[in-house]
């Protein structure tokens, strides 16, 4: 069947089977940032946004996406690069394979939670596994990034 949806703000069309999952469709459409890590919804590598919410593209039927809006890391590249610099400064990307899904969920958290504390951050991101880093560097990066975001938004508010 043919589906139409918005991918990173562009209208796209894809021919999919009834049991095709979104992950492969997105990669075929050129969004190579989307990675498969486990196939069983446990690792978070395939995280994308559907209508603005973090979801696992390995278990979303592509057929159900018709008419919806999908965002991958390619669609928020500038914001990803900005946070990514904090991540890299801490060495928190390491192999980098889990980074796209992780960054998507960090940016979703930024939109959803207002000034989260460490426990809230950890809980929000619990579904993003990483085998390289032991997570500490990622938390350091998030906290520094959030602090800068808050400072910047504070400045804007003052202006």
């Amino acid at each position: 069947m043919e589906i139409q949806f918005t991918l990173n703000k562009k209208q796209v069309t894809a021919e999919v089977g009834a049991d095709t999952v979104l992950l492969g469709v997105l990669r075929d459409l050129g969004c190579k940032s989307v990675k498969c890590g486990c196939e069983t919804t446990n690792c978070g590598l395939c995280t994308v946004w559907i209508d603005g919410k973090s979801r696992l593209s390995c278990s979303v039927l592509a057929a159900g996406i018709d008419g919806h809006e999908v965002t991958t890391l390619e669609g928020v590249e500038e914001e990803a690069a900005e946070f990514g610099r904090f991540l890299a400064a801490e060495g928190g990307e390491q192999c980098g394979f889990c980074s796209p899904g992780f960054i998507m969920n960090v940016l979703a958290m930024k939109r959803e939670l207002d000034d989260p504390d460490l426990e809230e951050i950890k809980e929000y991101l619990a579904g993003n596994l990483c085998r390289c880093t032991g997570y500490m560097s990622q938390l350091r990066a998030i906290q520094k990034y959030m602090t800068l975001q808050n400072e910047n938004s504070g400045k804007e508010a003052q202006v």
Partner: protein, 771 residues
């Protein structure tokens, strides 16, 4: 030697430089194997044995071949009958040649029975279901304690071959056997006031790197097999594939792009042979992407080991003798079997350098479970759990603080280590590591435990560790650097960055030596056709071995730059100096820039401006580490929660503090997983239950508590800038330290990993009942 004096003038080394590939990684660029694979690759899938031990009687492929899009279905009849090993090791490999690409005998549930390749995923999946295989089911050997001299043989075949004298005998299910000793251990133990006599058991663990095994292959214009693979050992893969396909090595080229983690898993050529065979047979490009299930059931996990430790001491706590027997389970094939086991003794016993005698004996046995392989720590992790746990049990019997017991017995700088091939610890800050870790955690206030008053008790526990830096007199790294137009450098390495950052730290070293900026140096992934030889990234070798090759290459290149500069300046080479930016005539002050030299050597020049050097070390200087865990235990349920982990590492000079820190934090988190959660569980018939991330639980960020890392550096005189290794040692302390914390909190000693809540609960209950 004090490291700060040695390193204080460094501009690039010892700095937290972000990784050279960081931006591509955080913006999700297409840099990994499957991102790069051509879209016309045949899809390759493996049909896997449902039986732990069986012989294939018949394979009917007729219906499957009729599926539109199916290119080929290959069986054991299509493979060379010459055995080889998938272990990525220097030739002649210690691992036995016990494999065929496809074999008639199935040796574990998941063993490869046939290969199906076709133009689409759907077609191949359909065909896989239509291949009919008749098996003669045989009785398997599943308990590794009964494997040696069992009448059921895992490898009865006559063309099984062991290239090295490792004590292997396939007619006894024996993959390796050895005894090494110094002093009269029996006499020393008989004379000791206390002898701890215990058995410890560590399980198979999965590396669980986020990128599963994957490879694609194609033929190039010269008819050569090109292999793009997520591997730690491209040069070894070249040899392995030539062996497997029985073709000349010159016919194989291996390319390594970015890798999504390895941790040793990819030191075995787990996935390469399958698409390689398909491409070689069909001439068409082919790729295989292991599913997570395949990556967890037909891969290369840590060797399960059972270790019997006898540890003797006098009543003051002087450790006088250590006797260790290790039984290692290599599973269906012998990859890394003969070598991992050695580290269980050689990297644990030397921590206690003052012992008068030691003996280390081992057997490595074949069984009908998935083959083991290389996983960070490589046997040291298992041995250190056993020996460090025994030391902690000794502390309890002596009623001594386990850190004090260690202070009394630990190896110190300048000590000769008889159980470590007689090497001397030229650089060792283990004493400072332990002292600092105690301060960080607040040991003196927290030892042994504190009742939190809410049904929970917090305990602290300690362990030490060592590893090596490369395999002495074996590992070889070579490096080439060339000067290009405008004077930028190409750094060519054969060492494989797998996210660990070696492309970055080797560039840092080059930038330091060549007195230039990081941006003046380009580095890229490994290509066996063009990269200088390197055994690969394993055995904690890259920083130390390849790093030293970088230093040597830079020295040679600087000499050549000076020569060229002198020619262009029209003076003698003795009169010039290279300051990184220009070659200066010290007499006249005249100079020529590197940029100009780089451009001029490209015109009317008879000497290439490049250098290449190699390095191999007769020693393997150990990094050292102390780790202290603080855990909280629910006294009713036995649930163990990580609170804090303080770790201090002596890796010599820290080449890149942020990358070294993340390596350490990551290794500790993996170690926490090993200690508390991770287990490969088999059914009574040998089926692997731990076949997904739903069932094989690696720690999430909610499971690791706080991890704090510091460095207490020594200066290794034989290493680049005083550096030693860091990659592996970091996984070794959590299991014994956490076990000790549980022991100190609730008095329960769990000698079999993982330390589950149920084991702790049962230990507490049994203690209460015996009271």
């Amino acid at each position: 030697m004090n490291m700060t004096e040695e390193t204080k003038d460094m501009r690039v080394v010892n700095q937290a430089v972000p990784k050279v590939d960081a931006e591509a990684l955080v913006t999700g660029k297409a840099v990994y194997t499957n991102d790069l694979a051509p879209s016309d690759c045949l899809i390759v899938k493996i049909i896997r044995s449902p039986h732990a031990h069986a012989l294939i009687k018949d394979i009917n492929t007729a219906r499957a071949e009729a599926v539109p899009g199916i290119e080929c279905i290959l069986t054991y009849k299509d493979c060379p009958d010459k055995r080889f090993t998938l272990a990525g090791q220097t030739y002649p490999e210690a691992s036995p040649y016990d494999r065929l690409i496809l074999d008639q005998r199935m040796r574990f549930v998941g063993d490869a029975a046939a290969i199906v390749a076709g133009t689409s995923e759907e077609a191949v999946k359909k065909a896989v279901k239509l291949v009919k295989i008749k098996y003669e089911v045989l009785e398997p050997v599943l308990d590794f304690r009964t494997a040696k001299d069992n009448p059921i043989l895992v490898h009865p075949e006559d063309n099984w071959k062991s290239l090295c004298p490792v004590g292997a005998d396939n007619k006894r299910n024996l993959c390796a056997h050895d005894v090494s000793e110094s002093g009269d251990i029996e006499a020393v133990l008989a004379d000791c006031d206390y002898v701890i006599d215990r058995v410890y058991h560590t399980k198979a663990n999965q590396q669980a790197m986020m990128e599963t095994f994957r490879t694609y292959t194609y033929l190039d214009a010269y008819g050569r097999l090109n292999v793009v693979s997520s591997t730690q050992v491209p040069f070894h893969v070249r040899r392995i594939l030539a062996n497997a396909l029985d073709i000349p090595k010159s016919k194989v080229r291996v390319i390594k792009p970015r890798i999504g983690g390895g941790f040793g898993a990819k030191q075995t050529a787990v996935s390469e042979v399958y698409p390689a065979l398909v491409t070689w047979k069909t001439g068409k490009p082919a790729k295989i992407i292991f599913t997570r299930e395949e990556s967890l059931t037909a891969s290369s996990p840590r060797h399960e080991m059972e270790m019997h430790v006898r540890l003797g001491a006098d009543k003051e706590g002087h450790i006088r003798g250590i006797d260790l027997y290790t039984l290692s389970n290599t599973g269906a094939f012998g990859e890394h079997g003969p070598t991992t086991v050695g580290l269980s003794g050689h990297k644990s016993i030397p921590l206690y350098g003052k012992a008068e005698a030691f003996r280390f004996t081992y057997d490595v046995v074949y069984t009908n479970v998935m083959s083991a392989g290389a996983y960070r720590g490589y046997g040291a992790t298992q041995g250190i759990f056993a020996v460090e746990s025994a030391v902690n049990e000794l502390a309890q019997i002596l009623d001594m603080d386990p850190t004090v017991l260690r202070e009394m017995n630990m190896v110190r700088e300048g000590d000769v280590m008889p159980a470590y091939y007689g090497e001397t610890a030229e650089s060792c800050a283990l004493d400072r590591c332990l002292a600092r870790a105690k301060e960080m955690i607040g040991w003196d206030e927290k030892y042994p435990c504190r009742d939190m008053g809410n049904g929970k008790v917090r305990g602290v526990g300690v362990a030490m560790a060592m590893q090596g830096s490369g395999i002495s007199s074996v590992d070889t790294g070579s490096v080439a650097i060339k000067v290009n137009d405008d004077g930028f450098y190409s750094l060519m390495i054969g060492a494989t960055d797998m996210g660990t950052g070696c492309d970055t730290i080797l560039s840092q070293m080059a930038a330091e030596c060549l007195d230039c900026d990081m941006k003046d140096i380009i580095v890229h992934g490994v290509d066996t056709d063009t990269s200088p030889y390197d055994c690969g990234s394993y055995a904690s070798s890259t920083t130390y071995v390849t790093g030293m090759a970088v230093v040597r290459t830079c020295e040679a290149l600087i000499a050549k730059i000076c020569e060229r500069g002198a020619v262009y300046l029209g003076c003698s080479v003795d009169e010039v100096e290279f300051n990184g930016a220009e070659v200066v005539n010290l007499k006249t002050g005249e100079s020529i820039t590197r940029k100009e030299i780089g451009n001029r050597v490209m015109c009317f020049n008879n000497e290439a401006l490049s250098a290449s050097e190699a390095f191999s070390s007769p020693t393997s200087p150990p990094p050292f580490m102390a780790g202290i865990a603080e855990v909280e235990i629910d006294k009713e349920t036995g649930v163990v929660e990580m609170v804090d982990y303080a770790a201090v590492v002596d890796c010599g000079t820290v080449v890149n503090p942020s990358l070294a820190r993340v390596q350490t934090e990551g290794g500790i988190a993996q170690g926490i997983g090993m200690a508390l959660f991770e287990d490969v569980v088999y059914s009574p018939k040998g089926k692997n239950y731990s076949n997904s991330f739903m069932q094989y639980k690696i720690p999430s960020r909610l499971d690791v508590g706080n991890i704090r890392v510091e460095f207490e550096s020594s200066y290794e005189p034989t290493g680049p800038f005083g550096a030693k290794s860091i990659g592996e040692i970091v996984i070794n302390t959590p299991s014994p330290a956490i076990s000790n914390a549980v022991q100190n909190a609730v008095g329960v000693i769990v000698r079999e990993l993982p330390i589950t809540a149920e084991k702790v609960y049962k230990g507490m209950r049994d203690k209460a009942e015996n009271r």
